[in-house]
Symmetry: C2
DNA sequence: GACGTTCATCGAACCGGTTCGACCTTGGAG
DNA sequence: CTCCAAGGTCGAACCGGTTCGATGAACGTC
């Protein structure tokens, strides 16, 4: 069941079938109908590999995800799903490639084997070797998060610095004087993970601007670490009355630590940060926080990538998202004792 | 930079380059070295589309995931990541296709366009139209979960009936007389979702066998629903002293409901079920539960699929996993008042 | 009635690999 | 010395599409 067979049964040449399907040259209505009848009868679909070879494009996008060992967070998951859907809207499929550790065989295969027309790179580091690899191959790509030299590349990111800064300002307005930033894991921070770097910068700078005492700590991406981390914070800096975080996975542990310490939120302690709406709503009480709009980022990333694929000489564009901070119930005025 | 260019620079024919690379025919050591030098110098990688066309196989597996609208659960996510890694071990890539409704463009493209050599189907219904579609195309596939007529197909599943049955028996041994099953969402159950069906069957059957009073309820896959659901259970059946669940996403809500009702676990109430280890450990107190071994299932599914791809006439095989129930701290003897 | 257009279609080349059959060397056995 | 097998290489066909240039028929124009 290939195009030749369809042509034979419809009594036309292979090229006519091709033109009837693509509409790139006029074909008489009668012929089109005859061809369509045959196709419907045989349930024919063109072979994707052959088409890709002939056209020089695969209609497939690559999505580079962190390796399975690094447990994917909830937000990352919904990001993957959204990328797939956004790609489907452009009639493209998504090929997954885990990378980060040394699973770079897969990355190689996907990137250099011309298996995809473009790549979306998640979990970018400030200096990322994969970015250089991609740049040198000339394959269009968009990063989630941006590298230091960001002007010349395509990316989508959340303005962590700005958002965290606004969180701190919010806490300052409420009278808090000692605050802490609960960052992501040690390793991530050590490797120069962009969001962590920028969150820290925005945090320290703004806190200093308001004359606050600011501490920042790393915390692994799981509830147990969140609990331990929060108890350590209480022990080391008992005067801290508010926390800002970008570590969503640690939240359940923080919740438990607050409960265990019999701290009422927001009466005794305020908590805010950059947290996906869904998780912020699930907290008790719901968190005042800026959303991580994974769906919107995925959509944007795919749109940018398609733009780049369709016009490789286009000048790089990017998007820095700064979703509003939604006021919920987890921040309140500092109680003076 | 194609095979012809390599051949020209190495002073041999295209076929010799091909044989040197694949090793399917002997090539002299000197020639191989000359070819490899040229390849290394030019950074050549064979074009995947051309190879797929010629070989008739794409070295790509399709993974059909639930659409983004249905939020993917934590377990599903780690399953996806594990599938990608298992496939990478076989030198295969993974193409994602969201699907749920049955006139799915993406599913069509992947399945009928010969874009993949085989398919893994997640979130299977007891009667699933996609299974029929796949069967009729003759494309190898493995389902996660099994359809009613399961003998003739390839699948991997968790023995929900058996595991839930063992949970109930455990509760019976501890003296509980009124138990409830917290199932997944209404819609899923209504559509004939296999795990839900089998969990219910195992639950009711075993409870009856021990002369227990058994109730079962549906609960949407999110914390808020878990909270509402549990409070409703307490209101309707105040005598219930233990719950069994397969709904991992609802657990945080159940946790909050227990706390709000000032029920101590396991003194006042026992909780168990089929819950991924990671989530069971995060509960407070840690849950006595059977693991959902997503990684192992992914590995098995990929292995079975590869087996089927390499020998299409092989007789269908399947695996019904029954991980042990890990005793933690959430189940205890019923207190007699 | 000769002529230039437009429309519909065809044949052939091409994309970049794999694979088959054929050919030419060598070298060892008889 | 002849013959045959094995080793190494080549050219051509093929996988299933797309695309370009050419061809022929129908049509309106002068």
């Amino acid at each position: 069941m290939n195009i030749g067979e369809i042509a034979r049964r419809a009594g036309v040449s292979r090229s006519t079938v091709s033109y009837a399907l693509s509409g790139k040259r006029p074909v008489s209505a009668a012929t089109v109908r005859r061809i369509n009848d045959v196709i419907a009868e045989l349930g024919y679909r063109p072979n994707a590999s052959a088409r890709a070879l002939a056209e020089g494009r695969t209609r497939t996008l690559g999505l580079v995800i962190p390796p399975a060992s690094t447990r994917l967070t909830d937000v990352q998951l919904s990001f993957v799903a959204s990328v797939v859907e956004a790609a489907a809207a452009h009639d493209h499929d998504v090929l997954l490639s885990p990378s980060g550790g040394d699973h770079d065989r897969s990355f190689d295969r996907v990137v250099t084997g011309r298996r995809v027309d473009g790549v979306i790179l998640m979990e970018i580091l400030l200096h990322d070797p994969r970015v250089e690899r991609l740049t040198s191959t000339g394959l269009p790509f968009v990063t989630i998060g941006h590298v230091v030299d960001s002007a010349a590349s395509w990316w989508v990111d959340v303005d962590y610095a700005g958002l965290i800064s606004r969180c701190v300002r919010h806490l300052a307005d409420l009278g808090h004087e000692q605050v802490v930033l609960i960052n992501r894991s040690d390793e991530l921070v050590a490797s120069g993970y962009g969001p962590s770097m920028r969150a820290t910068a925005g945090f320290l700078e703004t806190a200093e601007g308001f004359g606050m005492t600011a501490h920042d700590v790393c915390c692994a991406d799981d509830p147990a670490a969140g609990l331990a981390c929060f108890e350590q914070i209480r022990a080391r800096w008992p005067e801290v009355t508010a926390a800002v975080t970008i570590n969503e996975a640690a939240l359940p542990g923080v919740q438990r630590a607050l409960h265990r310490a019999e701290l009422d939120v927001p009466r005794d302690f305020s908590l805010t940060g950059v947290i996906a709406d869904r998780l912020a709503d699930d907290f008790h009480p719901p968190l005042t926080a800026a959303d991580v709009p994974a769906g919107q980022m995925a959509q944007l990333a795919v749109d940018l990538l398609m733009e780049q694929i369709n016009d490789p000489s286009a000048t790089p564009r990017h998007a820095l998202l700064a979703p509003p901070i939604t006021l919920r119930s987890s921040t309140g005025a500092r109680r003076r004792n």
